[in-house]
Amino acid sequence: MGNLLEHMGIERDRVHFSWISSAEAIKFVDIVKEISEKVRALGPNTKLVKEYNE
């Protein structure tokens, strides 16, 4: 999925997958931090956003 999105021009770092057990709160926090950092670096997404007419 990520690969095709990237192929279409949506940056790879905009789709993340992970595997966290319910006991791994620390890992959860680490991953949120990591993803948040990566996405902040990319900035807001403008592609594939539907614009609705008011």
Binding site: R14, H16, F28, V32
Partner: protein, 66 residues
């Protein structure tokens, strides 16, 4: 922070990551407030449609976690 707020739509499995998020909250761990959590009954409920929908509705990133 001057940065614009970002939104990461997170699809979390009820039994795994959702539990981890809960535990993180109970343990008072701090993490960035950029995520918007959608609880799904199982990672198997996930569909590519959800990811595209999230982007269409203006998400900056999507995170799927089992």
């Amino acid at each position: 922070m001057a940065e614009k707020e970002i939104k990461i739509v997170s699809f979390l499995c009820n039994w795994c990551s959702y539990g981890a998020a809960d535990l993180a909250g109970v343990s008072r761990l701090e993490y960035p407030a950029d995520i918007r959590v959608v609880r799904i009954p199982c990672s198997g409920r996930m569909s590519p449609k959800f990811i595209l929908s999230a982007f269409r509705e203006g998400a900056d990133a999507v995170w799927v976690s089992g």
